[in-house]
């Protein structure tokens, strides 16, 4: 799903990075789902910056698909996952384990 060429501002994150979703980001895209806010996930795809003028007038920052283990969201054992497509202004890096 890499966007070649079209995406001017480059991604801050790479596939495989662990990221935490901010709890709030008042000037960010308001559509970040509540259930992933404050949660840790892994970047699994980069989409670049996506012009979508029929949907919104201004460009949002580059978009990442972030995968969350369902058990981290619900607290119940599960082998399943949820992915959310999040714009980078909502993400912060998570130091590697053993930090």
């Amino acid at each position: 799903m890499m966007d070649k060429g079209a995406s001017q501002p480059s991604h801050r994150y790479s596939v495989g990075d662990r990221v935490r979703v901010l709890r709030d980001r008042p000037d960010g895209n308001p559509r970040t789902p509540a259930y992933v806010r404050g949660r840790i996930g892994m970047v699994v795809a980069l989409h670049g910056q996506i012009p979508n003028p029929l949907d919104h007038r201004d460009l949002y920052p580059p978009l990442c698909t972030v995968r969350f283990a369902l058990q981290d969201l619900t607290g119940r054992p599960s082998r399943d996952f949820v992915t959310a497509d999040l714009h980078e202004e909502w993400l912060e890096p998570v130091p590697d384990e053993g930090w």
Binding site: M1, M2, N29, P30, R31, P33, Y35, H47, I50, N52, P53, L54, D55, H56, R57, Y60, L63, T65, R67, L70, L73, T74, R76, S78, R79, D80, F81, V82, T83, A84, D85, L86, H87
Partner: protein
């Protein structure tokens, strides 16, 4: 959905279930698409309340009554058909206007996706099946009247033209899940196409002469032996509808949006009768409007040698969002 949680496939033919589905969908399109659009244009001075009143045509009361003689099946079908016509009409009137620029994001704000204050109250339909059908028939009628008045008011104000409406009508007709079925069937027989579809879905659609639409990216999530994908939009109802037409009606319901995130395995089993093998992970894909996802189902066993057209017949609307697998050839007969 209809309050019948745990509804199984067999319920999909039950009149009570179907009437509940029409009610849920009508309320969605009324409160999320039609009325916010009207309110937004009034707020911005593009049309006025008085314009709408002038464009309205008072209807004689007896025109509102359904043919009471028709049998139950016919009357349920009539409600479904009128909802379809209404939904197509709403989609048709969404054309660019002369003096106002409206994007989908404006509608999300206007209808209260981000702020409950703006939300338009949904009606509930109570009573016996008969009573609910009467209420629903009336409400469909009133919605259609509003849509017609709104359309006439925009035309009268010179905000939109008949030509635009006709072009849009044709565009709406060309959208549909069969487009998705064709993409899937081609991907099953042509690995190179599959790769292009996974990398840049909308561009790949052009290879099949499909109008690719313009709503961001088309994300294609491939099902494998190890991973089953299912698509949702928890915030609104993002879907590649400019290419694939409307998603299944339940895709827009709050029950689906909540349960598929909370417990996808149980949701798929109890609501759709679809048991995902224990060793296969489920990946629920929650969309934004910038990447609109569809599922590429697995090719069923025993389909070697089937033509691309036959393969496309195995792809259902449900399988394109991951609520089912593609059908097997034995179910086609």
């Amino acid at each position: 959905m209809t309050g019948q949680s745990g509804a199984h496939r067999t319920h999909l033919t039950d009149p009570g279930y179907r009437v509940g589905a029409v009610a849920a969908d009508l309320e969605y399109f009324r409160t999320k698409r039609l009325e916010p659009r009207v309110l937004n244009l009034i707020r911005r001075g593009v049309v006025s309340l008085h314009d709408l009143m002038q464009a309205g045509s008072p209807t004689a009361g007896d025109q509102r009554n359904e043919a009471a003689s028709a049998d139950l099946e016919q009357r349920v079908r009539m409600l479904e058909d009128r909802l379809d016509a209404l939904v197509r009409g709403i989609a048709t009137v969404m054309v660019p206007m002369r003096s106002a620029d409206v994007v989908i994001e404006d509608m999300r704000r206007e209808r209260g996706d981000y702020d409950g204050f703006f939300r338009i109250a949904k009606r509930t339909y109570a009573g016996s099946l008969e009573e609910r059908m009467v209420q629903l028939g009336l409400q469909l009628f009133e919605c259609q009247e509003l849509l017609d008045a709104f359309t006439r008011a925009l035309l009268a104000a010179g905000e939109i033209t008949e030509d635009q409406l006709e072009q849009r009508r044709q565009a709406v007709r060309s959208q549909g899940y069969r487009n998705g079925a064709r993409l899937v069937a081609r991907a099953w027989v042509d690995p190179g196409f599959k790769q292009r579809l996974l990398e840049a879905g909308r561009e790949a659609a052009r290879e099949l002469d499909l109008p690719p639409g313009r709503l961001g990216k088309l994300g294609v999530a491939e099902n494998t032996e190890h991973e089953h994908n299912v698509v949702v939009c928890t915030l609104c109802s993002c879907y590649p509808h400019d290419l694939l037409g409307d998603p299944p009606w339940w895709y827009r319901t709050d029950e689906y949006k909540q349960r598929i995130i909370d417990d996808p395995r149980a949701m798929l089993k109890e609501t759709f009768g679809f048991e995902v093998p224990a060793e296969r992970s489920i990946v629920v894909r929650d969309s934004t409007s910038d990447v609109r996802w569809m599922v590429l189902p697995r090719r069923p066993e025993g389909t070697e040698g089937l033509s691309e057209e036959k393969l496309a017949e195995l792809v259902t609307l449900e399988s394109l969002v991951g609520a089912a697998e593609a059908r097997t050839p034995s179910t086609l007969a």
